[in-house]
């Protein structure tokens, strides 16, 4: 098997008319890494994936695989294994013929194709369903066929486009685990696109949060969770409540006069306990913003309306909860 490849996106942009679907995106993906592009729909993640696959040409920038630009190559010469959201199996071909398709395109000798195909089907545990047609399979099984078909050609890169979004919740976790195991096992560099942060958290080596065609933040799960670069990342990663209010010296005064006591000074990203006040004013407030006390004091922000802290889990009156303070760049 070939060595895992590295992928570099260098200032890649894609415009549709006046609209920039992807704007100046740069990203380096290391060999064997599984990177998840995460963001709401319309953030440019799928456009990025399609540019890597060769279905779209970037309007600017370069995409390099192992240091060589792949932009001159048409999709059918890029050797990428793609799993589509709809699985995109060939409806008129059996499971085995679906998996064999890429190998037939490579003009592999028939016995080798048969051997390789059955090996792939064993890998995804479908060895007993080889002669079935796609529509005779469940969603999870179709997903496995799509994965086997993509992996059969020993692609230089594995691209997964919302691979789990059509599966029911129970199956999703199982498939996520399988994809992760297969990807690790084969050491194949993988780019996955999803809008589901739980999926992203579970699978990724590294997450790239996108919004409006731009990378908001890239990093490991903990990085994004503990030190979100901006309020968007904070609210997109994990269930959280952002509190807002007027900053007093050691407390945050919420609208209606209730206050949250802020404890001590802390560096950006520190976790501290904050006591949520029992008050009518913020009882129903799910979206509140709290000032960073120390930052407020330092920057003379006392009394100003600013975004400050993120409280993980739903704030409940009178309960202590974890309060996560964002970096000073927010303030």
């Amino acid at each position: 098997m070939s060595e895992a490849a590295s992928l570099v996106l260098d200032q890649v942009s894609r415009r549709f008319g006046d609209h920039a679907a992807v704007a100046g995106m740069s990203l380096t993906i290391l060999p064997g890494e599984l990177v998840v592009l995460l963001g709401p729909s319309g953030c440019g993640k799928t456009t990025t994936l399609r540019m890597i696959a060769g279905f779209l040409q970037p309007t600017e920038g370069d995409i390099r695989l192992d240091g060589r630009s792949i932009l001159p190559l048409p999709a059918h010469r890029r050797e990428m294994g793609i799993v589509f959201q709809s699985y995109a199996l060939f409806p008129h071909l059996s499971v085995a013929r679906n998996v064999a398709f890429g190998l037939e395109m490579r003009r592999m000798p028939k016995p080798d194709i048969a051997a390789q195909t059955s090996a792939m089907l064993r890998l995804v545990k479908l060895q007993d369903l080889t002669e079935r047609l796609p529509r005779e399979l469940s969603g999870g099984q179709q997903q496995r066929v799509a994965l086997a078909r993509a992996l059969a050609i020993h692609p230089r890169l594995l691209l997964l486009d919302e691979p789990l979004s059509n599966l029911d919740a129970g199956l999703r976790a199982e498939m996520a685990r399988e994809i992760r195991l297969l990807q690790r096992d084969r050491g194949i560099t993988t780019v996955m696109v999803t809008h589901d942060q739980a999926e992203a958290m579970a699978l990724a080596d590294r997450l790239v949060v996108m919004r409006d065609g731009r990378v908001q933040q890239s990093g490991r799960q903990e990085d994004l969770y503990e030190r979100p670069a901006n309020p968007f990342v904070a609210s997109f990663i994990g269930g959280s409540n952002v509190l807002s209010g007027r900053l007093d010296v050691d407390r945050l005064v919420l609208a209606g006069g209730a206050a949250i006591a802020l404890a001590g000074r802390y560096a950006a990203g520190d976790r501290r306990a904050a006591r949520l006040p029992e008050s009518e004013a913020e009882a129903g407030a799910a979206r509140l913003r709290v000032h960073h006390q120390s930052a407020g004091r330092d920057a003379g922000l006392v009394g100003q309306e600013r975004t400050a802290c993120v409280i993980r889990r739903g704030p409940r009156r009178g309960r202590r909860c974890r309060c996560l303070l964002p970096p000073r760049s927010w303030l």
């Binding site: 696959a53 060769g54 279905f55 048409p74 999709a75 059918h76 010469r77 890029r78 050797e79 990428m80 294994g81 793609i82 589509f84 959201q85 709809s86 995109a88 199996l89 060939f90 409806p91 008129h92 071909l93 059996s94 013929r97 398709f101 890429g102 395109m105 490579r106 047609l133 799509a146 078909r149 993509a150 050609i153 691209l159």
Partner: protein, 290 residues
Amino acid sequence: MTGPAIPLSRSAGEVGPRTGAGEGAGGWIRTFAVNVLVAVGAALIGLPLVLTLYLSLFDEKLITYPPRGYTFSWYPAIIPNFGGPLLVSAELAGLAVIASLLLGVPAAIGLYRHRSRLSSAVAAFLLAPITFPDIALSLAIYVFLVLIEQLTTLEFVGFTGLVLAHVLITTPWVVRLCLASLANNDTAAEEAAASLGARPVIVIRRVTLPAMRAGIVAAALFAFIVSFDNLAMALFLAAPGVTTLPVAILEYLEYHIDPLVAAVAVAQMLIIGTALLVLDRFVSIAQVGR
């Protein structure tokens, strides 16, 4: 004929008991009304066919009712009287089907892939021949072909002209049906094929065309029927020795009104019906097997 009525009446019957005793009668009336409608519809479609078949068995020189008796003797008379035109029509329809598939299938793929204002205009243009009255169209084609014959030394009026004219009226059906078969096509499957190393031509051959298979078969069948049945074109464009079946029937009817025409009609129905059944079977096998 009563086939469709059974599931309809059953579903209506299931609703009935739940709606209570007062409306039970209403449910029964609804069931009855549906059955009557289905029967009337089936009769409207079926009766002329059955009557044609009935007529073709009359043992009479002139069609009179009630007939003296019944005979199969009209059927063996088909080949001597209509064998030539039948062959011409079949050949014509066959060529028209092949040519219109060669034109219409790529056109449909192209129109499907490159959707723009221009492509919808082209699609509308390709369908235009259907909207023209056949007879006006054939007159126009006749004048046009004669003009070309005068300008060149080529001969068009006759079989060549007929084929061209039939392609004109069959292609819209092919384009329409093929576009319809592509409407719920999954472009991701084509992209998947490309990512697996299939060149664009291979993608069309291995993925797009198989996905269109049912549409192509239906298109071929429609084109065949439209061509086989067309009278107007042949009225203008047929040359001596090139008589199509509809023209031959018309000419025959000028001098004879006997059950032979009905027998020819039944034969034609059987030929097309058989083709339909065979194709239908072929398509469903193609979808289930492989």
